[in-house]
Every structure is written in C-alpha cells, then in structure tokens.
Symmetry: C2
Subunit: 249 residues, 2 copies
C-alpha cells in the first residue's frame, strides 16, 4: 500500500516504490496521484507482466468509488465523456462566493478549515483538477491526452458580477474537469462553468466532489461523494484490497 505525498512533476518517490513492489511480484494499492497521472502506462504494463494486481481508487475522489464505477459497473457501456467537480477547495470557495462572500474571505475560510494550503495555487489555478483529468484520461481514454494538451483555467478570474449574473439566471459556478473522446481524438479541459440547476453537478456544494459519465446505453450517470479526508481515503485502500481479494480469490 503506497501512500506517500503527491508530486505531480516527477511522480516520485511513489513511482519507484510501486515499481519495486510490482517487480517483486507484490499486488499494489496506491492513493498517490503522481504515478497515475505520469507513469500509468508503464506501471500497468509492469503489473500485467508480473501477473499481479494494481489498484488506485483513492487517486480521484478519495474513497468515493468513481474509478471502479466507471471501469466495472459501467463495463459494457461506451463512455464518450467524463466531467466533474474533482477539487474540494475550489468548490468550497465557489459555494461561499455564491452566498455573497468575497473570493479573499472564502479562500481565508478554506485555509482556516484546512481545505486550502498556505499557497493555494495548485487548487485555485486548476492544477490539481488537471492532474485528475490526466489520471482519468489514462484509465478511461487509453492515455491519449498529454499534459500540454489540456486547457486550464482556474477560479481566480471569477468576479462578484459573474456570481450575481449566474444566480440571476438560476445557475451556479463550478470548476469542471472534463475529458471527451471524439473519434480517435481525446480532449481535456479545466475551466469554471455556470451550470443550470437542472444539472446534478450544480447542487454539489462545499468540499464535496462529483463525476458525471456520458454513456451510450445509460445516458448520463453521476456519482456524488466525498473528495478528500483521511477516513474516506482509507476506505479507498480497503475497497481496493477487497477488490484484489475478489480478483485473485
């Protein structure tokens, strides 16, 4: 079980840990975003060559089982698009701003609650969500998406006027990570969107996360749940261990 800190530039030291374990024929569970975003293809190949299991439910939406939902429960469906709220800090800030709080006050409150770090850049400029989009592209879209190809816009440009206009139109701002397959082409983006209240993502407030799958057989299916937390991420590890038990049992 690999659970060290995330480095989205190198994926280390987690990637070396995982490689060493797989090479010695150990099943691996990780909650670390770095290896999944940067070295997915080689790790999957290594696990297959050693005939061992590799699981990573906790890398997106903590223990909320969105990865297994897409890979197992929706098996048999063609998934053409995945979009969602994958960063709790920015969703918390946007929720407070929707209630009239300023960006600066909402950020301070998020830091006070431990959601946002002292340097909030990774969250508010969309880098964290971009990492999740890369992971989901690796898992669900054959990895056909390069970091440079993902357009990225954070939430710092959203003004009180933007918020008020959205409220007046019955809409809510959300930072949406999105990946879409069109023919052989996969595109990815991170950008704030004003969603109508008829979209289930619009009612996902505070630090909660959500993922929406567009499929051929089921239409849109949405999973809403925790996106962070010790206990919640611990459950991701437990559910991966149970899944490995089922697979090899």
């Amino acid at each position: 079980v690999e659970a060290t800190y995330t480095d989205l530039t190198t994926g280390q030291p987690a990637t070396s840990h995982i490689e060493a374990a797989l090479k010695s024929k150990k099943h691996v569970v990780t909650t670390n975003k770095g290896p999944l975003a940067l070295h997915y293809a080689s790790l999957i190949k290594l696990a297959a060559s050693k005939k061992v299991q590799f699981r990573y439910e906790g890398t997106v939406m903590a223990g909320t089982p969105m990865i297994s939902f897409g890979t197992t429960n929706l098996a048999g469906c063609d998934i053409s698009e995945i979009r969602g709220i994958f960063n709790g800090t920015t969703n918390y800030i946007l929720t407070r701003m929707g209630e009239g709080m300023s960006y600066a006050d909402a950020l301070a409150k998020a830091q006070e609650l431990g959601y946002a770090e002292a340097d909030p850049t990774g969250d508010v400029e969309g880098f964290d969500t971009m990492g999740k989009v890369m992971i989901l592209a690796n898992i669900f879209m054959d990895g056909k998406l390069k970091k440079e190809e993902i357009t990225r816009q954070g939430i710092t440009g959203i003004t009180p006027e933007d918020i008020q206009r959205a409220e007046a139109e019955g809409k809510r701002w959300k930072l949406i990570g999105r990946l879409r397959r069109e023919g052989r082409r996969v595109t990815g983006s991170v950008a704030p969107e004003a969603l109508p209240l008829s979209n289930p993502l619009s009612s996902v407030g505070n630090a909660v996360n959500a993922a929406q799958f567009a499929t051929d057989l089921l239409g849109e299916v949405t999973v809403v749940g925790a996106g962070a937390g010790r206990k919640e991420t611990g459950f991701a590890v437990l559910s991966d261990l149970l899944d490995i038990h089922r697979a090899i049992g």
Copy 2:
C-alpha cells in the same frame, strides 16, 4: 434471463420461472420487481443451495448500477440509511409542477409521454416506490421490513401552495423512498419531502432517479441516473451477465 411483467401482489409468473431455472442449476438474471420484493429470501437461499448466481440489477433504477454500487463498491462500509427518488413518473410530475403546471396537466403530459399509465395510482400513490423500498430492504437490510410496516404517502396531496412555499424557501418537492436501520430495527417510508437545493437529490429532475447511501466511512454517497427505459434496462441485464462471468470466471 427473466423479464416478464411485474406483479407486486403475487410475484408471479416470474417467481415460478426463476425457481424452475435455479432448481435446474441455471444462473438467473431478472429485471422483475415482484420476486425481489416478495420472495427474495427463499430465492437467494435456493440459488445458494444450487451453487448458482442470481442477479437483479434492473429491479431498481433500471441499468443505473445502484444495487451493485451498494453491495460491491461500498462493501466494507456500514450503510445506515438509503433514500432516493425511485419513481420517474412522480418526479416528472413534481418537476413540471415546480415550473407552475397544475397536477392534472402534469399528469396528462406524463401520460402523453408514456411515463404514466392510464391508471396512475401505482405511481402517484407511492406503491411503485414502496416496492423499491421493499427490494432494497431485502438486499441491504436483511429483509427485516414488512410491507405493512412501510408508511406510504403519494404526491396527490401536494397543492400549488405547497409548491410555491417550497420554491420561496429554495426547496424542491421530491417523492422520497427511505429505509433506515437503527440498532436491530429497520424502518421504511414513502413520502414527499421538500429538499433544500444543497441536497444532490433536489436537482434530480424529470424522469431521472437517484439513490443516496448514508455510510460510516464515506458519509453520504449519491448515484444519479436513468430509472427506466428499454435500452437502460437492457444494460442492467448485460451488466448482470458480465458480473456472473466475473464471479464464475
């Protein structure tokens, strides 16, 4: 694959079909609510004694994989409550009423679209939702809930004034099926509730369904998706067949 019509009073002829198949050691998939609501315990026992698989994803929310989500993806969590929107017809009517349409007009529109039957009693008085609550109690709460013990209230008593008051308070009416475990006691209910817009169930509109699980390790997790449809129910059968393949593979 058993896919005959539903009879929530006797569970027939589906239950006899399923029993005959299980007795001759065939794996069974059904989309039929009757056997699941009325004869779950004996069918599960029969399948176990014959060492064959019995699957029923399509009995609640069509192909939206809420049953496998609760039994497999959430395995390891303790589920204390399940609540949701399990009837598309009433949700369609409530959505239109929220936009200002009268109950009679909304019902007529639902009938025109093929959602509601000529005699809408089963939907609007909550009997269909009650059937789903019974099924979920059988699957998730050890069957400790009798039909007579489920309180049931439909949507016919909701007035335009109720709708307006909810809108003014930023709430939306939904027909909620609910089952809750408290110690050894399991309670069930079907009743309209005015939900705040902060609840993901509030933004589930038209004929869409949703299920919310209250858990110990993950807090609240919600699945939103189709609740009916030929293609969607066909996918439930496909996903059950894949699941059986995994289980015996």
